[in-house]
């Protein structure tokens, strides 16, 4: 493995999980109980959308099919997110253990790790871990001596498109097609890879599954809030002293997080990556939790000297590049947003155009086909709302 220095801000709970404890506990339960157990933990998807994992598994388990799949979404592409890389580098066994439990719960015999193209260097490492586990009887036939429990894993590579982090685009990409989101319903749990019921879970979600089975639901719920159970890895970047991957329980306020990472004095933080929202300093009392500011873990600290319109422009540039170009609102809407930011920067944005673009942003949020187009205007719209004074009164250099 190449020497990669993983930045890490504090100790991670995953270090304390005993290997295979989760799988052992899971194999002692009936298959139906596995889904209930995850449901009881209140685990919500760690990729950003926050869908309850137990519910997702339950839908898929209820489907009758000869073949089902569990896919680990390792296409970590959200700008400012790099926590899955740490997990895959240091805790690949936990992720695979989580997939194995998932396979048992839903009745899948094959798991696929869809690995981001930029993480190609991790592929030999993952294959090594998989191979080692096969040797230990932790993958393959009759896993851990349980007769008829067959499950194996292969690693498939992404090709660099951000949209392939969206689960149905990911599946299209796996099938060899252009990575574009499908219409939903049907959802992947009903008709996913090759039309078979498929669960797609984020890397961190699967690692959490292994931890929950190892230590129990009650243990897991000691972290976090009532509605957001557990802990979460955050990828901290931007204008702060100690960027890196941190573990915090859900519910931490933006202010206390900034204190931990040496980012006090920021004028805003972007939570949830380019597709997230921009929180101005006056709202730093808000909490990172599904019930307040939900996130897949990206936190970008925006220092006092940053031009907030540069921030918006940066994100919109990204979306104009990364929209798959399938549905009209996203295909053409992002370019209009970007045009508005550029005009605002030079003080040439006619008020009526700005109004049109704001309304268009609202349409994109409800009429786009997938999460990309539904969230791409969010940063810009929240900046327009949170920084209206700064934008209205900025000195125009052009």
């Amino acid at each position: 493995m190449p020497a990669t220095i993983e930045t890490q801000g504090n100790a991670l709970t995953y270090e304390t999980i005993e290997p295979e404890a989760g799988l052992k506990a899971a194999l002692a339960m009936s298959r139906a109980d596995l889904v209930d157990f995850v449901r009881d933990s209140d685990l919500k998807g760690r990729g950003g959308a926050g869908f309850p994992t137990g519910m997702k598994w339950g839908f898929c388990a209820a489907e009758k099919a000869d073949q089902k799949y569990i896919i680990c979404n390792a296409d970590e592409g959200e700008p400012g997110t790099f926590k899955d890389r740490v997990i895959l580098t240091r805790f690949a066994d936990l992720v695979i253990e989580g997939m194995t439990i998932g396979g048992r719960a839903i009745g899948a015999t094959l798991g696929i790790i869809y690995l981001r193209a930029e993480y190609t260097y991790l592929r030999p490492h993952l294959n090594e871990v998989i191979q080692k586990r096969r040797g230990q009887g932790l993958l393959g036939h009759d896993i851990m001596g349980v007769e008829g429990f067959d499950f194996d894993i292969l690693v498939a590579m992404g090709a660099g498109a951000y949209v392939c982090g969206e689960e149905t685009a990911l599946i299209e990409s796996l099938e060899g097609f252009r990575g574009e989101p499908r219409n939903r319903p049907p959802f992947p749990v009903v008709a996913g890879l090759l039309n078979n019921p498929t669960v797609v879970n984020n890397v961190e979600t699967l690692a959490s599954v292994a931890a929950i089975f190892a230590k129990g639901c009650d243990w897991f719920k000691t972290f976090g809030t009532d509605k957001s159970s557990g802990y979460k890895l955050f990828s901290i970047s931007g204008d702060c002293e100690k960027p890196g991957v941190y573990e915090f329980p859900w519910g931490i306020t933006v202010a206390s997080l900034l204190e931990e990472v040496g980012g006090t004095g920021a004028k805003a933080v972007q939570i949830g990556g380019a597709s997230g929202v921009c929180i101005p300093a006056k709202d730093f009392t808000r909490a990172l939790a599904f019930e307040d500011v939900p996130t897949g873990g990206s936190v970008m600290v925006i220092g006092p000297d940053r031009d907030i319109l540069d921030v918006a422009e940066n994100f919109l540039d990204f979306f104009v590049e990364e929209s798959c170009g399938q549905c009209t609102p996203c295909r053409l809407g992002n370019a209009q947003m970007l045009r508005a930011v550029k005009l605002l920067k030079t003080g040439e944005c006619p008020p009526e155009f700005l109004a049109s673009v704001k309304a268009l942003g609202a349409t994109m949020q409800v009429a786009s086909k997938c999460g990309l187009g539904q969230t791409s205007p969010s940063a810009f719209l929240s900046i327009l709302e949170g920084f209206d004074d700064e934008i209205a009164n900025r000195a125009v250099s052009a």
């Binding site: 319903p185 170009g325 295909r331 009429a367 086909k369």
Partner: protein, 642 residues
């Protein structure tokens, strides 16, 4: 990942069915679900889309990327509606009704979203309506009018960004007008399994391209024009040759003749506001003369001739294979009247070209005869004859430009006009076809038969051939075997049809083929196995089965048509198209057939006269081989390097 034995579709596997059933409970299938649309309560079958439910309830929801012939796409977002309980708007074309739901199809949010979609599409739609081939028949134009678009808040391009691709003889592309609805892509994959076009690039840079962005004229395109028929705007259109035809008409030195195929006659009325399936054959003859054509011929004449030539060829192949035990004879024999199918075969199954009948299509047989037989008969200089063909087809434009189609010593057919082009000429000349008096076709090819007419529908060539072959072999009237001579097993719109026809007895060999076979004894009690496929996706099924040695490899004769429904669904027919419209056109064609006094090709007096006077060495003889038969080009799927 993909299993090589399952066909690869570009449309997601999960979305190949318009009804997206999301249940494992068999009870739910067939159940009725309550839905409230704009306050109106309705019961709809479980699993229908909101769009279908709304249509049942009489509520109109606008669409752009949706097309009744195609898999769902859900990309234009024009049909979004508000579904109670859903955070986001949902596309009516894809969202299934599986439990009781309340839908609002025109809330403020919905209207705003639709207007935004239109304004965004217009922000990259370059072109003025009044200079567009689709002016007055454009889905984007209609929606812009319905949604009161009066300004372009997101801009409107003044200058074209893309060069038009006019490299093809048949299909023209103008990306400046494209709205990326992808109907063309889905048509080429779902209906045709050709796959010329694909979305390339991302975001606002998505374009629709051929492989490596090669000009369409050099791509693996079969010219069928089905994409043109489904394009909602003017981004795809058939090559327009009306100027050249007008110029010929306006030139007093030119003798301009036109042959008209049966399918356009069943559809021309649609361009003048008539219901689909209202034939205007004889009114159109008058219109053509008034427009200035010197002679108006019926392509059915050479359709009948095709049956004689192709039927004789089949008999010869069967005789060689069954009696002379010649193993080099290629069977089953394939029809070759559809130029889209012929090019499909040349590209995708070149190893099966020996199976294609060497008989030319009716259009090209007519072309060869007009500049030889007809010119001689009337003492005309063939160089001064301009031969025009009215076809339902864009591929016929390519066909008449094939280098081998010059057996008369000249280009046999000069121009292939589509139904749409001729309709435009009529309008320009102020000729309202439905209100004109009727008139007949011109001699010497005047009289036609019902068999020629049904060439326009899938199964028609097969039925016409069977009528003739059965009568010739059995010596019995076809009506004694099939009621009214209607061979129902080969009719209808099923994608692939298969039929077995037993020869109940044999009769004497008729004079016309007496020099070719001594007797019919070898066919006594034989079972003739035939099949019919329309749309090249269906053709592919049959071809792959033949390759695998399946039941179609046992067939003797197979009819293939490139277009869904046969010629009546051709790429040159009026827009729009749908299964209902095609069914109505088929009805018109079959009712015309039953109205003819002569319904069998071998009884066509003009055909018999042609053999008597001109093609004197008979069907598949030396002269007919020179003028009426052709050869094909193995093209394969590799394109020339640019």
């Amino acid at each position: 990942m993909s299993n090589p034995t399952t066909p690869i579709h570009r449309a997601p596997l999960s979305q190949q069915h318009r009804r997206v059933i999301t249940t494992t409970s068999p009870d739910a299938i067939g159940a009725q679900v309550s839905v409230t649309i704009d306050g109106v309560d309705a019961k709809v079958p479980f699993g229908v889309t909101i769009l279908e439910a709304a249509r049942n309830a009489g509520v109109k929801i606008p669409t752009l990327c949706d097309h009744p012939d195609l898999d769902v796409a859900g990309v234009c977002r024009m049909c979004v509606v508000e579904v109670e309980g859903q955070r986001t708007l949902q596309p009516a074309c894809t969202f299934p009704v599986v439990n009781a739901m309340k839908v609002n199809t025109h809330s403020r949010k919905v209207r705003m979203a639709r207007k935004h979609v239109l304004e965004l599409l217009l922000s990259e739609h370059c072109g003025e309506c009044y200079s567009c081939v689709r002016n007055g028949n454009c889905e984007l134009q209609s929606l812009a009018e319905e949604y009161g678009i009066t300004a372009f808040p997101f801009g409107h391009p003044e200058e074209p960004l893309f060069e038009q691709d006019t490299s093809s003889y048949s299909v023209m592309r103008d990306m400046n007008k494209c709205i990326r609805c992808r109907r063309c892509i889905r048509t080429c994959i779902d209906i045709q399994e050709v796959g010329v076009l694909e979305a390339v690039g991302r975001s606002n840079k998505v374009t629709i391209e051929t492989f490596e962005d090669m000009p369409l004229g050099t791509a693996v395109c079969i010219n069928c024009g089905q994409c043109v028929n489904r394009c909602p705007v003017g981004a795809l259109y058939a090559k327009d040759e009306t100027d050249a035809v007008w110029a010929a008409i306006d030139d007093p030195d030119r003798h301009v003749v036109i042959q008209t195929a049966p399918a356009p006659r069943s559809a021309m009325g649609e361009l003048f506001g008539l219901e689909p399936g209202t034939p205007v054959t004889f009114e159109m003859n008058t219109a053509l003369r008034r427009a200035g054509f010197d002679k108006v011929f019926d392509t059915n004449f050479t359709a009948d001739l095709t049956i004689i030539e192709e039927g004789t060829e089949l008999i010869l192949r069967l005789y060689k294979a069954l009696v002379e035990k010649d193993e080099s004879v290629a069977l089953p024999q394939f029809t070759s009247c559809s130029p889209g199918w012929v090019k499909y075969l040349e590209h995708f199954y070149p190893e099966y070209l020996p199976n294609a009948s060497s008989a030319k299509s009716p259009q090209q047989m007519f072309g060869a005869l007009i500049k030889t037989y007809y010119a001689d008969k009337l003492g005309l200089d063939p160089e001064k004859i301009v031969s025009v063909a009215l076809m339902p087809c864009s591929a016929k434009k390519f066909e008449c430009n094939r280098p081998e189609m010059r057996d008369s010593g000249f280009q046999d057919v000069d121009y292939g006009l589509t139904t749409r082009e001729l309709g435009k000429m009529f309008k320009e000349a102020g000729l309202h076809v439905p209100s004109l008096p009727k008139s007949d076709f011109d001699d010497p090819f005047g009289s036609a038969t019902g068999s020629g007419v049904i060439f326009g529908a899938t199964g028609g060539v097969m039925e016409a051939a069977l009528r003739t072959v059965i009568e010739m072999v059995t010596g019995e009237k076809i009506e004694s075997i099939y009621d009214h001579g209607d061979i129902i097993p080969v009719r209808g719109f099923e994608g692939v049809k298969y039929a077995e026809i037993t020869v109940p007895k044999v009769g004497p060999v008729p004079e016309i083929v007496a020099h070719l076979v001594p007797d019919w004894d070898w066919l006594d009690g034989a079972t003739l196995k035939v099949a019919v496929a329309h749309g090249t996706a269906n053709a592919k099924k049959v071809m792959d089965d033949i390759k695998a040695g399946g039941k179609f490899s046992e067939c003797h004769f197979i009819e293939f048509m490139a277009c869904p429904g046969g010629c009546l669904g051709g790429g040159g027919q009026p827009i729009p198209t749908s299964a209902d419209i095609r069914a109505a056109r088929a009805k018109a064609i079959y009712s015309e057939d039953s109205a003819y006094a002569v319904r069998k090709s071998h009884e066509n007096p003009a055909v018999l006269a042609t053999y008597g006077e001109f093609l004197t060495d008979g069907p598949c003889g030396h002269k007919s081989h020179k003028l009426l038969h052709t050869e094909y080009t193995a093209r394969g799927k590799h394109m020339p390097q640019s």
